[in-house]
Amino acid sequence: MSIHLSVVIVTFGLLLAFVTYTLRWIRISLCLPFAITVLGFLTSCAIVLFTQIILWGPFEYPMGGWAPPIGIAYNVDHLNSFMVLVVTLVALVNIIANWKGLQNFVGDRIGGFCALYILYVSGLNGILFTGDLFNLYVLLEIASLTGYALLAIGDRRLAPFASINYVFLGTMGACFYLLGIGFLYIKTGSLNMIDVSNLIKQLHNSPTIITAFMFIIVGIWIKMGLFPFHIWLPRAYTHTFGPVSSLIAPMGTKVMAYAMFKVVLTVFGINFVFRSNAFPHIVSTLALSAILFGSIFALRQTHLKRMLCFVVITEIGYLVSGLAIGNSNAIKGSILHMLNDVFMTFCLFLSGQAIIERMGVNIDGFSELFVKTPLISAVFITGALSVVGIPPTCGFFGKWYLLLGAVEKGNYPLFVTIILSSLLNLILFFKVIEIGFYGGKVIPTWRLTGAPPWSFYVGLCFAGVSIILMGLFTFHLIRYVIEPFLTPLGL
């Protein structure tokens, strides 16, 4: 068993990103193939690592041989190694699928683009692995800064503006997080997650700890785009370049959701978080309003990508509602939904982007969608059914656990809200299907004709099939990925 793989995934990613950039001085056409090779390498490392974790269990990696409370540690367990696998795999498939589109759109700046792309993925991998609160901040900044740069690509007028908007809010979120760990450090004198969680067991009533918790959680929520901190999200994801949105929309918010689970469950612990009803009540309200707000606002959109952004906001509501309910099944549901949502969002943004390239952004212009783009729309519908929660697509199973938890706990408002939002999402996507089937009010603007390249079909098939497979292997995901993470935490 090689524990070094965990560190290889992050550091090699960071280093090779710069190598990718320097390749442009040798030959610019080398950049993209090299970037794909790098991501392929990271993915295969992630696969090996995940297999090792399944076989031999989680481990702690002391960085540079320094023992953990002093040195930085990577805590690799079942859940985060699987998340890393998901993130690298989806990033790899995304770049392969958009191979041609990238070459056409980015042109000679492809070297920079690939470097940013790999840096972003490595930043996310770091966030997932790290067991150190400050290290998490550093990697969060790496992921954020590269994310801002990537999101600024796209619509020449609107994308940079949307990105700046995100910079302001994102920085605010990161500052909140930093302030929070500052407070924690003052009180405990440690930054290692496990160390801190042991130290604050005696300090549950300390106002400093409570303040720290509030700062950290709000900071993470801003970065996640939880309602009402979501304002940056629709604009940033809408105006950006397609391959960027199908990279960042699936991963950015989900990795932050993982950070939230880690901070809430591992660092502060359920005994601290659920000792009074205050936290569940606040989260319940936020989750409820995120789900309702997202579903209702999505209904009002005519811009396909903007509509998908509001769907993402709804999904974020699901991710936090597990904490609102707070029992084992609900938290399982939220974590499962977090894993599934990567694939769902990827599927919707990838196929949605392809539809936009062909038929324009306006939903009303999607006449004859199914005749003209049969495979793309089939995959889009698979993603849509998953969002609605029709079995055997994966979206159903996360909702199942959430609803199960809500019934057990007796949290009926949330129970009803989740059902209601499923129905609203059904109406939402049915509207698109209806226009595709019967024709809409607007005459479609055909921008691009001809079949997409084969590489795009690879990505498309991956997106469609992964949704079904994630659904069918729910039992295994719960047993081998999520339960090993939750059981030591007392859930």
């Binding site: 059914l385 609605v388 929660g389 029709i390 079995p391 055997p392 199973f397 199942w400 609803l403 199960l404 019934v407 057990e408 129970f415 059902i419 499923s422 129905l423 059904l426 049915f430 209806e434 089937f437 019967y438 069918l472 292997f473 729910t474 039992f475």
Partner: protein, 488 residues
């Protein structure tokens, strides 16, 4: 019940699902494409037949494809009840495929490949519903059935089809997500299992809670069209007639009724109905539906809408039958599932034949048509006799058992409902037949029938309805066994 591990139930589902790529592949070769549909249908029927003898002895073929939640997997179980439904559905699929050839070509319909593809998927889902081992698997195939039939219902792609299609999905998917799914999750959280068991699996729930869940499921499976969740069925009549014939007389609506049979007998059990107020409430609700459907049918002008409301009414016969605590009523209800299928599909076939030959939809226009289409109207006559429940047709047997069972189990009022509804059936079916043969203005005897495949299929189904009266052995044996096992 003896369990046999077997892949056969899965094969039954896959036969039509696997035909989909071949149907798409041969989009440009209609003969081959429809041949594939027929072959898949025959294969499916053959596999179901192969499983029948063992299930009659009380065995059940089981397979778990994948575990989904603790104690609940994606599991199939071909037991006697499932086999009976699968037998009817798969046999009638063959006939309907034959009929479709005549109908779709006769009318030169567009998008015929899409039609055959979704038909095959719908049939797979129906068999999935029949062979589901637990409520979750049933729900999965139930949703698949709703979604795969949408393109069939909205086949014409015009404004009418749009609004009808919208109604169709809103009712069916809306109710299943809004009512059935929460109830299933709730049941799972209380019982920790969702497997179907004879006599039910209910324990430890308060009467109030279980009654609430019971009605959430009754309304949630809206394909059974119990008032007030029936309006999708008349709306769905916008579909091409073979779709209405197979899906809205056999597969879809019976999938709804079948789901309720499973829920009533194998989740809640008749014991629950006997003890709580849910039983009487269900009797009242289904009786209302029976009378409402029959009355509404009298006021319709379009032939297919008459048939739709008649179906609404007849579906509640099945649900009411299995909820009455009497082996005879259960037997009658289950028998009706098969008998009604043969009768009603004949009626739909004739309605389609009239449309193909004369483009006539309204019963007003059908005066004297019997002299031009004697075979069609003879079949219509036989079909309607079966629905009314008169000898010598199969429908008589099921209604006889139902009425007797109702008298045994509940008493005269419910028996009265059955008889009254039968009278109403006479009142809306017989005038059509009479006017067709004896119009007020004299009409010529001029032979002009629908295409041959259409004729063959309606002759076959009407004759089977007739034969089932004299030789009901297979269904008698099946329902007899079932009423013993399930009624207890």
């Amino acid at each position: 019940m003896e369990k046999v591990y077997s892949v056969l139930p899965l094969y039954t589902i896959l036969t039509s699902l696997c035909s989909v790529p071949f149907i798409m592949w041969n989009a440009k070769r209609p003969n081959l494409r429809e041949g594939i549909s027929l072959i898949a249908g025959i294969l499916k029927f053959a596999i179901v037949l192969k499983m029948l003898p063992a299930t009659l002895e009380g065995k059940a073929y089981e397979i778990t494809l994948v575990e989904l939640f603790p104690n609940v997997g994606l599991s199939l179980k071909a037991d006697l009840l499932g086999c009976m439904f699968a037998l009817v559905a798969s046999f009638l699929w063959i006939i309907t495929s034959l009929y479709s050839i005549g109908y779709m070509r006769g009318l030169k319909e567009h998008s015929q490949t899409r039609y055959y593809v979704f038909f095959a998927i719908a049939l797979s889902s129906t068999i999935g519903v029949a062979f589901a081992k637990n409520l979750l698997t049933l729900y999965l195939f139930y949703e698949m059935l709703s979604l795969s039939t949408y393109p069939l219902v909205a086949h014409h792609q015009d404004e009418d089809a749009k609004s009808s299609g919208r109604k169709y999905l809103t009712y069916l998917v809306g109710s299943s997500i809004g009512l059935a799914l929460p109830a299933i999750i709730w049941l799972y959280s209380r019982l920790n299992t969702l497997d179907f068991q004879p006599q039910g699996i209910l324990n430890g729930l308060s009467t109030y809670e279980s009654s609430l869940l019971f009605f959430m499921l009754i309304f949630g499976f809206a394909k059974a069209a119990i008032v007030p969740f029936h309006a999708w069925l008349p709306a769905a009549m916008i579909a091409p007639t073979p779709v209405s014939a197979l899906l809205h007389a056999v597969a879809v609506v019976k999938a709804g009724a079948f789901s309720l049979v499973r829920v009533i007998l194998e989740i809640f059990g008749q014991g629950f109905l006997a003890e709580s107020w849910a039983g009487p409430a269900l009797y009242l609700l289904t009786s209302l539906t029976i009378l409402f459907g029959s009355l509404m049918a009298m006021y319709q002008k379009e032939l297919k809408r008459i048939l739709a409301f008649s179906t609404v009414s007849q579906l509640s016969y099945i649900v009411l039958g299995v909820s009455i605590i009497s082996p005879l009523a259960i037997k009658g209800g289950l028998l009706h599932l098969a008998m009604h299928a043969f009768g009603k599909i004949t009626l739909f076939f004739t309605a389609g034949a009239i449309y193909v030959a004369f483009h006539k939809k309204f019963i007003q226009e059908m005066e004297g048509l019997g002299r031009q289409m004697p075979i069609t109207f003879a079949a219509f006559f036989l079909g309607s006799l079966s629905i009314i429940g008169l000898p010598p047709l199969g429908g008589f047997l099921s209604k006889w058992n139902l009425a007797l069972g109702a008298y045994q189990g509940v008493g005269l009022p419910v028996m009265g409902v059955f008889l009254l509804s039968s009278l109403l059936n006479v009142a809306y079916f017989m005038p059509i037949v009479y006017k067709a043969f004896f119009p007020s203005q004299p009409a010529k005897w001029e032979f002009k029938e629908a295409p041959l495949p259409c004729l063959i299929s309606m002759i076959v189904t009407s004759i089977i309805s007739l034969i089932l009266f004299f030789y009901p052995y297979p269904f008698f044996a099946i329902t007899e066994n079932l009423s013993k096992v399930l009624g207890g």
